[in-house]
């Protein structure tokens, strides 16, 4: 039923690089629940483009530093 996404992310690494930002604090800043942040981190939920930009803005990095998609060979 659920097609696995090829989109990966570096949210966990970015959180630790930003003074160990908690999932709860990241969730508060982007206006979602902590469960949704957990689902995004684990690749179980692909956020909307707007939410993806909001996450990138929290870490002050470009979107491609947060989300990655494999190059087509």
């Amino acid at each position: 039923m659920v097609k696995p996404t090829r989109v990966t992310n570096s949210i966990r690494a970015l959180r630790f690089a930003h003074d160990e930002l908690t999932q709860a604090e990241l969730a508060r800043r982007i206006g979602v629940t902590r469960q949704t942040v957990i689902a995004i981190e684990q690749g179980k939920y692909s956020p909307s483009l707007e939410l993806a930009f909001q996450i990138a803005h929290v870490f002050r990095v470009p979107l491609e530093n947060v989300f990655h998609y494999p190059e087509v060979p």
Binding site: T5, T33, K44, Y45
Partner: protein
């Protein structure tokens, strides 16, 4: 567990239990006789009413235990729409089935029960879809 996932569990469990109790009562009354002769209307209405009231009470209890109702976010809304989409298909199937049964002049018992079963299946499968999406993942890209 997300608050909306808890709500989906409540809907699933209450719907299944209410229908199971209803089915046991009606089948017990029939005890071999024709089901169309069994008085069912009051039991059906009580079953539906009790399921609604119990769901509301459990939602309030879970909400209080969770420290107030959690605000729905983007993921909750998208998973909610998926569950509703799947559940509503069974409401349509139930409506069409009831229409065809009425045109075929079938007993009211079977028409009412076909619609009730469709409502239950709608709630059950919609809830399962939501729970599955929360547990296994949900992709929009």
């Amino acid at each position: 567990m997300a608050f909306e996932e808890k709500r989906a569990w409540i809907m699933l469990v209450v719907s299944v239990c209410a229908y199971a109790v209803y089915a046991v009562i009606i089948l017990g009354r029939a005890s071999g006789a024709s089901l169309t002769e069994v008085p069912y209307a009051a039991t059906l209405l009580w079953s539906v009413g009790a399921a609604i009231v119990i769901s509301i009470v459990l939602n309030i209890v879970v909400s209080i235990a969770s420290g107030g109702p959690a605000k729905k976010d983007q993921r909750d809304r998208e998973i909610g729409r998926l569950g509703d989409y799947i559940g509503q298909s069974f409401v349509v199937i139930g409506g069409v089935t009831a229409l065809l049964m009425a045109l075929a002049k079938m007993p009211y018992f079977w028409i009412a029960n076909a619609v009730y079963l469709a409502f239950v299946l709608s709630a059950v499968l919609g809830s399962i879809a939501k729970i599955f999406a929360y547990r296994k993942g949900f992709q929009t890209w």
